[in-house]
């Protein structure tokens, strides 16, 4: 016979069978409940967390790239706008200058015209005054001259008065 007579490990001992059953079942129960269960859950959770984090990072990276692209576009747009604005400003400036020039000219012309009219008015008034003065003086002189001759001649006095009147009307 191949089996040893006291090769006792080959003879399943009843007590050991019972104890192994108890110990293993307890081990399975307790480990499953307090160790392997929670560990498996935690591992699963951590793995999904890591996956989520990776996914999120990837997403963030993509978003970043998109944002960058948009930024560049914005910058380009802004530059174009700036150029436009500058160009517009130049035109406006030129227009304003031209307008200002035109207005200044017009103003100047008006002032000159007004001044001319004033001068004309003043000249007329001055001439009138001179005429009056000259007429007075001439009368005075004529009076003095004539007084001696015309004191007795009423006809001549009438004529003189009539002449003075004509001068006044002019």
């Amino acid at each position: 016979m191949i089996f040893l007579v006291d090769f006792s490990v080959f003879k399943p001992d009843v007590g050991l069978l019972v104890w192994t059953t108890i110990i293993f079942l307890l081990f399975w129960l307790l480990m499953g409940k307090f160790a392997f269960g929670p560990i498996a859950d935690s591992l699963k959770k951590r793995e999904s967390d890591i996956q989520d984090a990776l996914d999120e990072a990837k997403k963030a990276k993509e978003e970043m790239a998109a944002l960058n692209a948009r930024n560049e576009e914005l910058i380009k747009e802004a530059q174009a706008e700036r150029a436009n604005i500058l160009k517009e400003a130049k035109t406006v400036k030129e227009t304003i200058i031209a307008d200002a020039k035109a207005k200044a000219k017009e103003d100047a012309n008006r002032i000159v015209a007004t001044a001319r009219m004033e001068i004309e008015g003043q000249k007329k008034a001055a001439l009138l005054e001179v005429k009056n003065k000259v007429g007075q003086m001439a009368l005075d002189i004529a009076e003095k001259v004539i007084r001696k001759d015309l004191k007795a001649n009423p006809e001549q006095v009438g004529l003189v008065t009539k002449l003075v009147e004509e001068i006044k009307m002019n």
Partner: protein
């Protein structure tokens, strides 16, 4: 490759068993402190070899000496060695038979078997630590006491010097005196005598210069391997039970702390023990559970992890030198329980598809069915049987090889009497043992893994949902 290694190990274990058997047959059963029975029986059979205790001082006990010895059963044919002979107390004993110390020849096979066996004492190095005994016999009922009550030597082989309610401790194992004339209570005994009667190893207790036969504890092999039900059952916390308790407690606290750390340090990088144990868990989950069980793996993961760490823990614990060397996974009882539980988990979760395939083998012609269905049904039971035997054989073989390599020191050194041989033995044995222990370390992991992956594949096959399921693993 794995199959090759496994078959190699099978061959190794059976070679070792038969080797040990030879050793057993050709040499005496002397443990230190034992009196050898043959001294009383060798008058005509052993001409030329005198085994009387008084002759041993000058006797050469080298192995070559044993060729002429015949200790087989036929040897005893002329003698009255039946148990009834001893209970009659009519046996004729020559001279004093009990209580004598004498040298014993070294027997590597027996030594190895002694060390891989379960015991009611826990040995740390040469120190023997008592363990609780819980014994039941139909005659006396339950008895509970600490094995120190047997008064075994603190340093020795675990032979008790006192009988407790007819129980004795022989070589670290409890036996029961069946003779009702033996007194109950605490009785000092003078020793043990081992004999083979009808190829059955029997141990006798020496008390008052009389021999009392003893019963081994009941075993569940149904007498297949020389065991069977006897007059008592041993439900003691044995060496293996202690080892299982230590390993399970240790594993529980280790994994509990990891589970707590994961909870407490959520969202943080793992550290320390967590870093060490997590890869094992993820390995079993990703390489074993998910490939075989698919999306429903979560239900079976705690079971697979329990199996894996239970087996691995005990494999490794049994390999720690000088720490009991509890050979739990190398004991058929332990692997049988694991295999039965795996069998139950597999078949209690088996779905309709699985049972249909098993009993009807759909899609095959009737003449194939005649062969296939019995094969499938046999496979149902062969699967757990191979699970049980594979683990047992691998671990037992490894332990026996290591122990025999260690024994090489004593063999080469002729038990300390031949110094050059001792030197060669120490060097050779150290190298061989180192080599074997590293192999055993690999085997410890491989076997735990193999047990788990096969269990997973069986569960996977029994719970598979689609139609053309394969029952590949046999």
């Amino acid at each position: 490759m794995r199959k090759f290694i496994l078959s190699f190990l099978y061959i190794a274990v059976f070679a070792l068993i038969s080797f040990a058997q030879d050793q057993h047959d050709h040499s005496g059963h002397d443990h230190s402190g034992h009196n050898h029975s043959h001294q009383t029986q060798n008058t005509q059979d052993h001409s030329g070899h005198n085994h009387g205790a008084q002759d041993h001082s000058g006797h050469n006990h080298g192995t070559q000496d044993h060729s002429g010895h015949n200790h087989g059963a036929q040897d005893h044919s002329g003698h009255n060695h039946g148990a009834q002979g001893h209970s009659d107390h009519g046996h004729d004993h020559h001279g004093p038979i009990c209580g004598e110390e004498r040298h014993h020849e070294f027997d590597a096979g027996e030594n190895a078997i002694h060390h891989i066996a379960d015991a009611n004492v826990y040995s740390i190095g040469p120190l023997m630590i008592p363990l609780p005994c819980i014994l039941y016999s139909t005659e006396d009922g339950w008895k509970t006491f600490l094995s120190s009550k047997f008064h075994f030597d603190k340093i020795g082989h675990g032979d008790g010097h006192q009988a407790v309610d007819r129980y004795v401790l022989d070589g670290g194992t409890v036996r029961r005196i069946t003779d009702t004339t033996f007194p109950m209570g605490n009785v000092p005994i003078s020793g043990f005598i081992h004999k083979e009667i009808d190829k059955r190893h029997t141990s006798f207790v020496c008390y008052n210069n009389k021999l009392y036969p003893t019963d081994a504890k009941s075993t569940a092999d149904g007498g297949l391997f020389g065991g069977g039900l006897t007059s008592f059952y041993d439900f003691s916390i044995t060496k293996n039970v202690t080892a299982m308790m230590i390993v399970c407690t240790l594993l529980f606290f280790m994994f509990r702390s990891v589970a707590k750390a994961m909870d407490r340090r959520e969202g943080m990088a793992p550290t320390g023990l967590q870093n060490f144990l997590e890869p094992f868990v993820t390995f079993i989950r990703d390489e074993v559970a998910i490939p075989f069980l698919g999306p429903k793996y979560e239900r079976y993961l705690p079971f697979l992890l329990s199996i894996f760490f239970f087996v691995l823990g005990l494999n490794l614990f049994g390999q720690v030198p000088f720490f009991g060397g509890a050979n739990a996974t190398g004991n058929l009882a332990v692997t049988a329980v694991l295999a039965i539980i795996a069998f139950l988990v597999t078949n209690l979760n088996g779905n309709a598809d699985y049972w249909k395939h098993l009993f009807l083998a759909p899609g095959t012609p009737w003449f194939v069915k005649i062969i296939l269905i019995p094969v499938e049904l046999m496979g149902l039971f062969i699967k757990p049987l191979t699970l049980m035997l594979r683990l047992f054989a691998n671990i037992t073989a490894g332990h026996m090889v290591v122990l025999i390599f260690v024994s090489f020191i004593f063999i080469a050194g002729k038990n300390g009497s031949y110094l050059p041989g001792l030197g060669v033995g120490i060097i050779g044995s150290t190298l061989l043992t180192l080599f074997m222990m590293s192999i055993e370390l690999i085997v410890a992991f491989v076997q735990a893994f193999v047990f788990t992956i096969l269990t997973a594949s069986y569960i996977g096959a029994s719970t598979e949902e689609h139609h053309h399921a394969e029952h590949a693993e046999h």
